[in-house]
């Protein structure tokens, strides 16, 4: 269901406007927006937005929930009789956000604006808890209940030479159900004994935190062909909640102070200059400084040391835009960055060059060809280890890397009414010095488009895209190759019918088919990994009829067919040491109809 009310009143003094629009998709997804103002003087806005996320219906688990932050097992239940002692769960979360805002034009050059929003997210989501010794694990219907408040205050200035913006942003995250939730651990009871003897465990919920950001931007035209831009951004994230008071970790708590006193200061400074030397040659140069200073104290807790991560980045870039004879442009660029991480044995250096040729070959044929090559001189992780498992490999975001990308985009007007397009992107990453972990990845994408618009009363389009992704990973005894192939096909048309052009019909069709194969070699010892297949087909039909100059009625019908074969989804119950909640087999057909009425007063 959609609502759209618009108002406009204009006289010699001012132009008032108003709008109230909303949409209810009928699946707990709703949006309502209202705006009112006087153009060029002030504006006010209010918006309510509600969004669901569904994790699964009719899932089954042994836990019950007497209150939001506690999950208990039924007395008398046993893991052996799990099916008899499970209940059904519908897991979903919902976001609800209310935001209000306003802006005021102080004079021709100054404008101030303020906005506030409150978003609450509530529901349950699946969350795993387990230990690796047996192994054993249980999926829990964990509660979600938190709030995020955001406030923005901005002042804008603009004249013909100087533009500036100053702003403050506050984000406050609040946990509404306490800092943890508690649950009975069915595996705390030896064997398949009664759950009434199960001990309780605590899992942390995200703690309250706040973020303050001050930002200032300036753009100045030094002379007709020269511009200068600068931006300063100062952020501070803080978290000082008490640690989870878990009696099972009394020794660890004894090693800690009362609360974390965590603080991360972020500083970003960006400078950029552009100068057009001649009508055919323009240069851009920039420098960015980025510092993340994690001031949280390092804690030694039992066998572990907390990993307080800070880093500093410097980046320089310079680009040239050369207008070649005819309608051709050549862009050449170079970028260098240096990142100094606290937990790396060396700085990492990135060197990148890129080039793009844009060309209007003829009136009907245009396109561009581009390439980018990046080389990274990497480093090794040097911070505290969790165990032995990250020392053996070069972490891929730190490791030596060669990345190249080549692409082309072509558009050809076969006739004034018919255009064909093609886009090809080939990208490859090679972690040349890595022997374990991520070794290489590749993305190849091919797209063809077709646009047809013989008259203003008719237009049509179609596209087809094939994307191939490959990923190579190495282990000590095995290697893994993942191949992912996705076809996406779309088509649509709009047509205005009847002589008076009162009836408009629209059609959109989309089809996606994705298959992912994971091969582990040598033989995975019986573990088979069938293809992951996802297929989605959707059709949208829409119509609008102009009953009179003032009244328009419309109807839209939408249908989506979705199916998925996924080996990670298992039935609820105990399987190989893990108690699963199960998962919806995502195989459905959804229909939706939207009727609309529009009246102009």
């Amino acid at each position: 269901m959609e609502l759209d009310l618009r108002y406009r009143g204009e006289d010699d003094e001012d132009a008032r406007y108003g709008r109230l629009s909303g949409r209810d998709l009928g699946i707990e997804s709703r949006n309502l927006q209202g705006r009112y103002g006087v153009q060029g003087r002030y504006g006010l806005s209010i918006e309510y937005d509600q969004r669901p996320r569904f994790y699964g219906h009719d899932l089954r688990g042994p836990h019950w929930q007497p209150d939001k932050d506690r999950l208990v097992l039924p007395d008398g239940g046993r893991t052996e009789d799990l099916d008899d002692w499970s209940r059904t769960w519908d897991l979903s979360t919902e976001r609800r956000r209310l935001s209000v805002g306003g802006q005021r034009h102080l004079d021709e050059d100054w404008k101030v604006s303020a906005a506030f929003s409150r978003e609450e997210k509530e529901g349950n989501r699946p969350l795993g808890y387990g230990t690796w010794w047996q192994p054993s694990a249980v999926q829990l219907p964990a509660s979600v209940n938190h709030r995020t408040d955001q406030f923005d205050l901005t002042a804008d200035y603009a004249n013909s030479e100087l533009q500036a913006q100053f702003g403050y942003h506050l984000s406050q995250f609040s946990q509404l159900e306490g800092d943890h939730f508690e649950f009975d651990d069915p595996f705390s009871v030896p064997g398949f004994e009664r759950w009434q003897d199960a001990s309780a465990q605590k899992v942390s919920q995200p703690p309250d935190n706040s973020y303050h950001r001050l930002h200032a931007s300036v753009a100045y035209q030094l002379q007709r062909a020269t511009r200068f831009h600068a931006q300063v951004d100062l952020g501070r994230a803080q978290q000082d909640e008490r640690y989870i008071n878990d009696p099972g970790f009394a020794d660890e708590l004894a090693d800690l102070s009362r609360s974390l006193g965590g603080q991360i200061d972020t500083t970003r400074i960006s400078l950029r200059g552009t100068h057009r030397f001649t009508p055919r040659f323009q240069v851009r140069g920039g420098y960015r400084y980025e510092d993340h200073d994690n001031g949280t104290s390092v804690e030694e807790v039992g066998d572990y040391i907390s990993r307080v991560h800070s880093w500093t980045k410097h980046a320089f870039d310079v680009d040239g835009d050369i207008r070649l004879p005819g309608r051709n442009n050549l862009l050449l660029g170079y970028e260098f960055s240096e990142i100094d991480r606290e937990h790396a044995d060396d700085k990492t250096y990135n060197y990148a060059v890129n080039a793009r040729l844009r060309s209007q070959v003829t009136d009907d044929l245009s396109g561009s060809l581009y390439t980018r090559i990046l080389a990274r001189s990497g480093a090794n992780y040097s911070g505290p280890g969790l165990s032995d498992n990250i020392q053996a490999t070069r972490l891929y975001h730190l490791a030596d890397l060669t990345r190249w990308e080549v692409g082309t985009v072509v558009s050809y007007s076969v006739a004034p009414e018919l255009a064909l397009g093609a886009e090809i992107t080939l990208a490859e990453e090679d972690y040349s010095e890595s022997e374990l972990g991520l070794l290489a990845s590749k993305i190849n994408s091919y797209t063809l488009t077709f646009d047809y618009f013989p008259a203003e009363v008719f237009s049509g389009y179609a596209f087809v895209t094939l994307e191939d992704r490959e990923r190579e990973q190495g282990g000590e005894q095995r290697a893994l190759d993942q191949e992912e192939r996705t076809w996406t096909i779309g088509a649509g048309a709009n047509s205005v019918l009847t002589e008076e052009q009162r009836l408009t019909l629209g059609l959109e069709l989309a089809y996606m088919d994705s298959g992912t194969d994971i091969k582990v070699s040598p033989d995975s010892g019986g573990a088979g990994y069938p293809s992951l297949n996802v297929t989605m087909t959707q059709l949208k039909l829409s119509s609008d009829y102009e009953v009179s100059d003032a009244l328009t009625v419309g109807f839209t019908y939408f249908v989506q067919r979705f199916s998925e074969d996924d080996w990670s989804r298992v039935a609820p119950g105990l399987d190989g040491g893990l108690i699963y909640l199960g998962g919806d087999e995502r195989n459905y057909t959804a229909h939706m109809g939207i009727a609309s009425v529009s009246y102009r007063f």
Partner: protein, 321 residues
């Protein structure tokens, strides 16, 4: 009639409609752009058509209906509000056509970039009024530096929100960013196709100083706008999570749950490989031990390590609680 002039009118009235005098992102302009009831004051559509007829009688006759709609549409936009002195209509002198404010006196050009106007000149028309706010870093930004024109995305004669050339941002942006359109057709994606999020919630196409034209300075700060629970700081931090969410996630969409770049097991084992008999290790052969089956089901590694974004539990060093 020369082919050139015919093209001018074909493009200006249908394919590449007339120019934009920018776009204000704030509410008033969106609203102002949608409705007008009265016959616009100070603009005589028939007189304008006569003027076009004088330039191109054949086109004017052949495309009279299109031309009339085209001219009338701009009257429904915020640019035609005469009581706002900032607009072309507000700046026009008594009895003067405000079309000239953008098209030049006596229709010097029709925004056919490369034919009757250059990209820079076309953009200057818009930037004369719209160089502040979100557009202050337009010059030298990714789109401007690649010689894009305002009218590549906007159309002052459009009746779409923000005067876009397409009905929604995804349709518009994916004209060039084809792969993004594909990403949003994946089963796990941000609800952009559903209309609940727009490209501009994260990106500023008019130019930013940082990476990928992100609005909030950096990748993680952008994500925390909606996912503030992961902001921390935490007692137990996960280095790549703290550094860049896109090291593991594809924010546009993926065939893998959680919008991960690959299945959870593969993502984790891009860094974490054990030499011990860890039951989840897919890539290490353990005599008599698990062959990784345990971690491929349910939530994979997250079956046990559910707090990979950070934990405040004193026993959360391995992100299990």
């Amino acid at each position: 009639m020369s082919k050139h002039l015919m093209n001018r009118w074909r493009n200006s009235s249908l394919l590449l409609p007339l120019a934009l005098v920018g776009v204000l992102v704030s509410g008033p302009v969106q609203i102002g752009a949608v409705a007008a009831e009265e016959e616009p004051a100070g603009v005589d559509v028939e007189a304008l058509i006569d003027e076009v007829r004088a330039i191109s009688p054949v086109i004017a006759e052949r495309r009279m209906q299109d031309l009339r709609i085209h001219i009338e549409r701009v009257e429904e936009t915020a640019h035609a509000v005469a009581s706002d002195p900032r607009t072309p209509a507000g700046r026009a002198k008594e009895g003067e056509q405000f079309c000239y404010a953008c098209h030049g006196q006596d229709f010097e050009h029709f925004f056919n970039v490369g034919d009757d106007i250059s990209t820079s000149q076309a953009n200057e028309v818009c930037m004369e009024c719209h160089r502040g706010g979100e557009r202050m870093h337009w010059y030298g930004g990714a789109h401007e530096f690649q010689d894009m024109a305002c009218i590549d995305c906007h159309n002052a004669h459009s009746n779409n929100k923000r005067l876009l050339r397409a009905e929604d941002q995804l349709t518009l942006c994916s004209n060039c960013h084809q792969e993004r359109r594909v990403d949003f057709h994946r089963p796990h994606h941000h609800p952009v196709r559903e209309g609940q999020i727009e490209c501009t919630d994260c990106h500023n196409p008019h130019g930013e100083m940082g990476r990928a034209q992100l609005r909030s300075g950096g990748v993680n700060e952008t994500c925390y706008q909606c996912h503030a629970e992961y902001r921390g700081p935490f007692l137990w931090e996960h280095q790549p999570v703290r550094e860049d969410c896109t090291l593991c996630h594809n924010p546009h969409g993926s065939v893998h749950p959680g919008m991960l770049e690959a299945r959870t097991a593969q993502v984790c084992q891009s860094c974490h490989l054990t030499s011990t008999a860890h039951p989840g290790d897919l890539l290490t052969r353990h005599p008599g031990g698990s062959q990784g089956e345990f971690m491929l089901r349910g939530q994979s590694c997250l079956n046990c390590h559910s707090q990979v974004h950070g934990s405040n539990h004193p026993g959360g060093a391995l992100f299990q609680r």
